[in-house]
C-alpha cells in the first residue's frame, strides 16, 4: 500500500451552523492505491459522499475543508487555488454520480456535453477533433452506433445509456482517478451488472484508480480490491476485500455483512444493526458506534479508538478487536 495515487491525511470537512462547526468527515486518513479499486462502504449519512466531494473540492456551501491534506501524488489538492483545482477536475480526477437521469443537461445533445467537458481542458482543440474524440469516448463505453447517439438528447436515452454517457464524459480526458458515487444505485439490477462490468473493463484498459462509493456490499464484493468502511464521518475499518469479507474486525462491518442475504444459509431473519447513523451534531462520546454495538463495553463509551493495524494492511478502529467477533454473531 505504499504506492498510493491519492493520499488523504487527517481530512476534516465541516459545515458551519449556528451552534458551531459540524464535522461530516472527521479525521479521515486513507490511501487510494494506484491502478486499483477502493470501495468506500457505509450507510446513508456516514460521510462517504462528503468525502468524495471533499476530494473534488465541491463541498456545497456552507461546508468547507477545515483541516487535513488531500495529496494527489505530490500536490495537496486542499491547498490549490480554485483555478488550479478546476484544471484537476475532469482531467486528473473525474466523477460520476448516482442519478444518470438528472446528471445530464436536458437542453444539450449528449455530444455537446461531452465535447464541452473536453474543451474545458483542451481549449485549442478544433470542433471536428473534439467530435471525433467524443464519438470515440462513446464507443469505448460500448454505446451502439455512437455517431448517431452523438446528436441525441438525454431524454432519448435509457438510464443505463445515460450512465454510460456520464462515464464516457468522465473518462474523456483520461483521468487518473475516477470517483464513482453510487453509480448503479438508480439503475435496475441487470443494467447495474453491465455498468459494473464496463467500469471494471475500463479500469483495466486505462489503469486508472477508482473510488467506488456504495452501500451495496454485493457491488463491493464484485468490484473492489480494497475496502474502507465508514461510519459517522470516520473510517472504522480498512483492508483488502478479502480481509473485510472473510475476517471483518469492526462490529459495524460485521453488522453490515450480516445484513446481506446469503443463498447458502437457511436463516429466517437477516441480522440488522439497530438504530441508524447518528446525525453529525449528536455523535456519542467515545466510540461513535458504541450505542449500536452489541459488543460495547464500558471502555467503549470513554475512549474513541484510532485505527489500529491488526494484520499487515488490515486496520480497524475498535478496542475490542481482534476478538473473534464474527464467530459470536454467527452463533
Amino acid at each position: 500500500m505504499t504506492d498510493a495515487l491519492l493520499r488523504i491525511e487527517d481530512l476534516r470537512t465541516v459545515f458551519r451552523s449556528s451552534s458551531g462547526d459540524i464535522a461530516v468527515v472527521d479525521g479521515v486518513t486513507l490511501d487510494v492505491p494506484r491502478g486499483k479499486t477502493l470501495g468506500i462502504v457505509g450507510e446513508s449519512g456516514c460521510g462517504k459522499s462528503m468525502l468524495s466531494l471533499s476530494i473534488m473540492r465541491l463541498v456545497p456551501q456552507p461546508g468547507r475543508i477545515a483541516q487535513g491534506r488531500v495529496m494527489l501524488e505530490e500536490r495537496d489538492l486542499a491547498a490549490l487555488s480554485s483555478a488550479e483545482m478546476r484544471a484537476v477536475r475532469g482531467s486528473e480526477i473525474a466523477m460520476i454520480f448516482q442519478e444518470p437521469m438528472t446528471s445530464l443537461n436536458p437542453v444539450h445533445s449528449i455530444g455537446d456535453q461531452i465535447t464541452e467537458a473536453m474543451r474545458a481542458h483542451d481549449p485549442k482543440a478544433s470542433d471536428a477533433e473534439l467530435q471525433e474524440r467524443a464519438i470515440e469516448a462513446l464507443r469505448r463505453v460500448r454505446i451502439p452506433s455512437p455517431e448517431r447517439r452523438f446528436a441525441e438528447y438525454p431524454h432519448q436515452l435509457s438510464g443505463g445509456m445515460r450512465q454510460r454517457v456520464m462515464i464516457a464524459m468522465a473518462l474523456s480526458c483520461k483521468p487518473r482517478l475516477l470517483i464513482a458515487d453510487e453509480p448503479t444505485t438508480a439503475l435496475d439490477v441487470t443494467v447495474q451488472a453491465q455498468i459494473l462490468d464496463l467500469l471494471r473493463e475500463l479500469q483495466q484498459e486505462t489503469g486508472m484508480s477508482v473510488i467506488l462509493i456504495t452501500h451495496d456490499l454485493g457491488v463491493v464484493a464484485e468490484m473492489v480490491d480494497e475496502v474502507a468502511v465508514m461510519y459517522a464521518g470516520r473510517v472504522v475499518e480498512r483492508g483488502t476485500a478479502k480481509d473485510i469479507f472473510e475476517d471483518p474486525q469492526h462490529p459495524y462491518t460485521i453488522g453490515l455483512l450480516g445484513s446481506i442475504p446469503r443463498i447458502e444459509e437457511d436463516r429466517e431473519r437477516l441480522l440488522s444493526i439497530d438504530g441508524s447513523v447518528p446525525p453529525p451534531f449528536a455523535f456519542p462520546k467515545g466510540c461513535r458506534f458504541n450505542p449500536r454495538c452489541p459488543f460495547a463495553i464500558r471502555a467503549c463509551t470513554e475512549t474513541d479508538p484510532p485505527l489500529r493495524e491488526l494484520s499487515p494492511g488490515h486496520r480497524a478502529a475498535c478496542i475490542r478487536a481482534p476478538v473473534e467477533l464474527a464467530v459470536d454473531i454467527a452463533a
Binding site: L58, M95, E116, A120
Partner: protein
C-alpha cells in the same frame, strides 16, 4: 380524440425506436391556441410595419400641408386624418410605432441583459446574493417616472433619458426573475456534474444555467416589453421623451391633448396604437408562458 385512440392502436412502426415521434414544438403549441395565434400574427404585423415604416408611409416624414391641419379621418387621401401641422396621421403613426418599439427594444435589451447578469451572479455566488438583491430592492423602490425626471434633468429630455429610465426600471425585475429560475437550475445534478468536469463558472452559467432559464426570461421579456412601451409613452407624454418633430406614440398623444375637443383623433389614434401594442404583447407573453410551461403540456 378518436385520432389519438387510433394512434395508440396502430402497430408501432419499426423506426419508432430509432426516432421517437417528436412532441410538437413550442411554436406549434403556440399556434394551436387561437388567441395566441392572433397575438403572434399581430405582433409580427406591428413589428414589420414599424421596421418598414419609411417604405410603407404614404408621405415623406417631414411632409406637411397646413391646409389639411386637423383633417378628420376619412378625408380624401388621409384615411386617419392629419395632425395640427397637417401631417398625415398614417405616416406619423408608422414612424411613431417605429420609434416607440425601438425605444422599448433598447430599454428591455439593456435592462434585461444587466438584470440577467445580476440574477445569474446572485444565484451562482451565494455569498453575493443578499448584497446584490438588496441593491435590486432599492432600485425597485424608485418609481421609474421619478428616475426619468432625474435623467431628463441630467441629459436633457430626449429618448436617451427614456431608454435609460425604463432600462433601469427593468433591471431589478429581470434580476429577480432570473435569480429565481437560476436557483432552481443550480439545484440540478447536472450542474454538479459540470463542475466535476472542471468547467469554469462563466461557462457553467452560459452553457448550463442560462439555457434552462430561457423560458422564464422569454416570457418576462415579452410581458415587460408591453409595460416598457407604456412607461416610455408616459414619460414622453410628460414631455421628457421624444422631442418634436420626432414621432413617438406617447409624444403624439401628448401633442394631440391640446386639440382634444376639436380634433380628438390626433390624441386618440396614437393612444389606441399604444393600447393595441401593449395588449398584443401581453397576450403573446401569456400564451408563451402556457406554451413553454412543461406542466401544461399535453
Amino acid at each position: 380524440m378518436s385520432a389519438t385512440v387510433q394512434d395508440l392502436a396502430a402497430p408501432v412502426p419499426a423506426e419508432a425506436e430509432v426516432a421517437p415521434p417528436r412532441r410538437p414544438g413550442t411554436f406549434a403549441r403556440l399556434m394551436r391556441e387561437p388567441v395566441a395565434a392572433i397575438a403572434f400574427v399581430l405582433t409580427m404585423v406591428i413589428i414589420v410595419s414599424a421596421v418598414l415604416a419609411p417604405w410603407l408611409a404614404p408621405t415623406d416624414f417631414f411632409h406637411n400641408d397646413l391646409a389639411q391641419a386637423m383633417a378628420v379621418p376619412g378625408t380624401e387621401g388621409l384615411p386617419l386624418g392629419a395632425d395640427a401641422q397637417g401631417r398625415d396621421m398614417v405616416t406619423r403613426l408608422l414612424y411613431g410605432m417605429r420609434m416607440t418599439l425601438m425605444m422599448a427594444v433598447a430599454a428591455v435589451a439593456l435592462g434585461g441583459v444587466l438584470g440577467a447578469m445580476v440574477g445569474f451572479a446572485a444565484a451562482f455566488y451565494r455569498r453575493a446574493d443578499a448584497a446584490l438583491m438588496r441593491v435590486m430592492d432599492v432600485m425597485l423602490s424608485f418609481p421609474a417616472i421619478l428616475f426619468g425626471l432625474a435623467l431628463a434633468a441630467i441629459f436633457g429630455p430626449g429618448l436617451l433619458a427614456v431608454v435609460l429610465a425604463t432600462a433601469v426600471a427593468t433591471v431589478p425585475l429581470m434580476a429577480r426573475i432570473v435569480r429565481g429560475a437560476a436557483l432552481g437550475v443550480m439545484a440540478q445534478d447536472y450542474i454538479e456534474a459540470a463542475r466535476s468536469t472542471g468547467m469554469s463558472d462563466a461557462r457553467i452559467i452560459w452553457r448550463h444555467v442560462a439555457p434552462n432559464c430561457l423560458s422564464s426570461i422569454f416570457v418576462f421579456t415579452t410581458l415587460r416589453f408591453g409595460q416598457v412601451i407604456l412607461l416610455g409613452s408616459a414619460l414622453s407624454f410628460l414631455g421628457l421623451g421624444a422631442q418634436p418633430p420626432t414621432a413617438e406614440l406617447g409624444a403624439m398623444a401628448s401633442e394631440g391633448r391640446n386639440f382634444l375637443f376639436f380634433a380628438p383623433h390626433i390624441a386618440i389614434i396614437p393612444s389606441l396604437a399604444i393600447f393595441a401594442i401593449v395588449l398584443v404583447f401581453n397576450l403573446l407573453g401569456d400564451a408563451l408562458r402556457d406554451a413553454l410551461d412543461p406542466k401544461l403540456r399535453v
